[in-house]
């Protein structure tokens, strides 16, 4: 394996969020990336962030999380605030699950929810918009505009629908999550497409898609390792930090069918093993859904 000289970064630095001084309203901004070698090896400098996922329409959210957080699910800004202050998340990922509704057209709510969640939080914000080409362009425009200058991390760009996210990110100064289906080549291709559309390399975060533990997680694990190895070997098109969101983990049979008194323990164990392994594979940001998982991950990362 040919590695870079020690003074060259293997992974590009990417700044998430913007403080007042940086043109936004966040109290902190984070720099991820900047790694030089393999994750957790030697003087590994990369910062690792734990994000708690919340949503604006909890209908499809895992019951175990709904039970645990109670009324918060009906109020994204309270939920976001609790994520930061009570659960200790480094940042929040806001999923606009409402856009999955058929005939969705409440675009004004997208803007206002974005504003309210930004208001309620002090740290950088990840927004997962729609994944329907029909509404993409308007959804991304609205949340992009509402968060102008905040260096939001906007998701998700895919190979056949990247232009709307890219346009919103370029117009309002945000970053893009580039998601590809568990394939190192497809990840690279999407980064090239984004670059050739004008998105600067330091505004792209790779999401190689994370399968649930026990349900194909090994594919995601290896693809993350391969992406990181390619970056170390000098591939500029893969030298971006990675985000991993094992979102299916809480929907698996083992968690769903666990005895009521064991549900939280089961959910947290499976999320923890998956999320931690994603960090070991090279992810810089890992998104989880159970608040207790956040706490356990933070403890390990800070040890």
């Amino acid at each position: 394996m040919s590695e870079n000289s020690p003074d060259k970064l293997a992974i590009r630095e990417v700044r998430l969020g913007a403080t007042r001084a940086e043109g936004g309203t966040r109290e902190v901004s984070y720099v991820i990336g900047g790694d030089r070698g393999l994750p957790f090896c030697g003087n590994d400098a990369g910062r690792r962030l734990v994000a708690l996922e919340i949503c604006d329409d909890p209908a499809i959210w895992p019951p175990v999380v709904r039970n645990y957080v109670g009324d918060l699910v009906n109020n994204p800004e309270d939920w976001a605030q609790a994520a930061e202050r009570r659960y200790g998340a480094d940042l929040v990922r806001l999923n606009f699950t409402s856009t999955k509704k058929r005939g969705f057209n409440a675009f004004a709510d997208i803007a206002s929810t974005t504003e309210r969640v930004l208001e309620a939080t002090t740290r950088p914000l990840i927004i997962e918009g729609s994944n329907d080409p029909q509404v993409d362009s308007e959804v991304f425009r609205r949340c992009g505009e509402a968060g102008e200058g905040e260096r939001l991390l906007l998701g998700t760009a895919e190979a056949d629908r990247y232009r709307s996210v890219a346009a919103a990110a370029l117009a309002y100064g945000h970053l893009v999550i580039a998601q590809s289906p568990i394939d190192v080549n497809l990840a690279k291709q999407l980064n090239i497409l984004l670059r050739e559309t004008g998105v600067p390399e330091d505004r792209i975060v790779i999401d190689p898609y994370t399968g649930a533990l026990g349900y194909g997680f090994e594919y995601s694990y290896s693809v993350m390792e391969r992406i990181r190895l390619a970056a170390i070997a000098g591939d500029d098109d893969l030298a971006m930090p990675m985000i991993s969101a094992p979102t299916d983990t809480l929907s698996i049979r083992e968690v769903r069918e666990a005895a009521p008194e064991e549900q939280d323990a089961m959910a947290v164990a499976w999320e923890f093993y998956t999320a931690y392994s994603a960090f070991v594979a090279g992810a810089s940001v890992v998104c989880v859904r159970h608040p207790l998982t956040v706490e356990r991950l933070k403890k390990v990362l800070e040890a």
Binding site: L213, G214, Y219, S251, M266, A269
Partner: protein, 444 residues
């Protein structure tokens, strides 16, 4: 580093005699280059070439067996640093520790738990592998007694942890015939321990703080006649472990330091965060992981992670093609098409089961490739769908003729309609959106 196929080929007889079982010498060379064949298979190789090629094709990490009988565990024999390069072969043995200061009841409950924990997943029974007995009492007799309580090695493989040669002598008098793992030989005590290991034919862990010190001790132990060794790098932190384990595995694989070509031993309890340490050991090269007792949820997750990481990426777990009933479907239930990529299948089944929506799931054989890749690679075609509908008698299961295909297979919708005569509905791309899609779109 490994030799390339053409370099190996130069040393072969080039007779294409097929005695090795491969059609040509070059085909054999390619298998040798990837470690999938043994030089011994070629009867016409001169000794010099055999030694040369054997040196570069034998496993760089030695295979070591701990325990005896059906629950014995073999580790090591690894060839790569990253599983995608080929595969990881031997999953680490997970040993739960007990102390010789515990009561009999405490010891027995752990031993029973280890013996009885079985997680059934995709056709495999996942188990914990053994018990580690720690000599904390300072008494050789108590140590031996606890070893006896732990089954003496006859049913479950044991790890014997102490720094007192007399304690080992006592314990080995009980368990010695069952190949317990002895932990640990250090710079100070390696001689008596190596002698004991040799006497009982037991594998031995060597413990030191740096790879160089480890290599020095393993070399001496090997010279003293102990071939089955493990390496405990005594890490101070998770990051420290990953760093040193990576270095050890790399030296072994690149054959820069043969004295490091042994499986690695990790004491998960010593690193504070047990779950994180166990996961780390599984992900990063541990051959034996000794852990304090952990919860059922953690055990299941850990065993599942181990199964995932040690799945051969070149032979992914594939779901058998067929039509699978989900939530007791009737004749009016929808028929959903997907591929036999295990991740896709399990994800979909997860969401469908959660939705309680009855349906038939039709799995076609795409050689374990995902929908996107199989559509792109021509491994999912309209003919296959038509054949599968016919072969699995789907038309006899339902009264309608509507097939819901994955969102990523949309380009095939017209062709599938033509080839099958079924009406095709294009479903969502994301399995998470399936329940809602079915709720809204499915009306017979």
């Amino acid at each position: 580093m490994a030799m390339k196929a053409l370099d190996i080929y130069k040393h072969l007889p080039k007779t294409n005699c097929k005695k090795c079982g491969y059609p040509t010498c070059l085909a054999f060379a390619m298998k040798l280059a990837t470690g999938k064949a043994d030089v011994e298979a070629c009867p016409d190789l001169d000794p010099g070439a055999k030694a040369l090629l054997g040196g570069v094709t034998r496993p760089p990490v030695r295979a070591v067996t701990i325990g005896a009988g059906e629950r014995s565990v073999t580790i090591g024999e690894e060839f790569v640093l990253f599983r995608h390069e080929k595969t990881f072969y031997h999953p680490p043995g997970i040993m739960v520790e007990v102390s010789d200061t515990w009561t009999e009841v405490e010891v027995r409950s752990v031993v029973d738990e280890v013996r009885e924990t079985v997680v059934h997943r995709v056709g495999q029974d996942l188990v914990l592998n053994g018990v580690a007995v720690r000599n904390e009492s300072g008494s050789a007799d108590r140590f031996a007694e606890t070893v006896r309580l732990a089954g003496g090695g006859s049913s479950l493989p044991l790890v014997l942890i102490s720094d007192d040669p007399t304690a080992f002598e006592a314990a080995l008098a009980i368990a010695g015939q069952y190949r317990p793992l002895i932990h640990a030989a250090t710079a100070d005590n390696w001689e008596p321990l190596a002698a004991l290991a040799k006497q009982y034919g037991s594998p031995l862990v060597v413990r030191a703080g740096t790879p160089a010190d480890l290599a020095a001790i393993t070399a001496k132990c090997a010279e003293a006649g102990v071939a089955d060794l493990l390496i405990d790098p005594a890490p101070g932190s998770l990051q420290g472990y990953i760093t040193v384990a990576t270095e050890i595995r790399r030296s072994a694989i690149e054959r820069t330091e043969p004295a490091l070509g042994y499986p690695i031993y990790l004491d998960a309890g010593a690193l504070g965060e047990t779950d994180a340490a166990v996961a780390t050991g599984i992900l990063k090269y541990a051959g034996i992981i000794v852990t304090p007792r952990f919860s059922r949820a953690s055990r299941e997750a850990a065993l599942t992670l181990r199964q995932n990481i040690y799945t051969d990426p070149q032979h992914p777990i594939q779901v058998t093609p067929g039509v699978y009933p989900i939530n007791n479907p009737e004749r009016d239930a929808p028929v959903l098409l997907t591929v036999n990529f295990s991740l896709t299948y399990f994800t979909i089944v997860g969401y469908l089961e959660a939705s309680r929506m009855p349906c038939h799931l039709l799995i076609v054989d795409t050689e374990g490739l995902s929908v996107l890749t199989s559509v792109a690679g021509g491994k999912l075609t309209e003919t296959m769908v038509a054949d599968a509908l016919k072969k699995f008698g789907v038309a006899d299961l339902v009264d309608h003729r509507i097939l819901i295909i994955p969102g990523y297979a949309a380009p095939l919708s017209g062709k599938i309609e033509d080839a099958t005569g079924w009406k095709v509905m294009v479903g969502p791309r994301d399995a998470a959106d399936l329940p809602e899609y079915l709720e809204k779109e499915w009306k017979t």
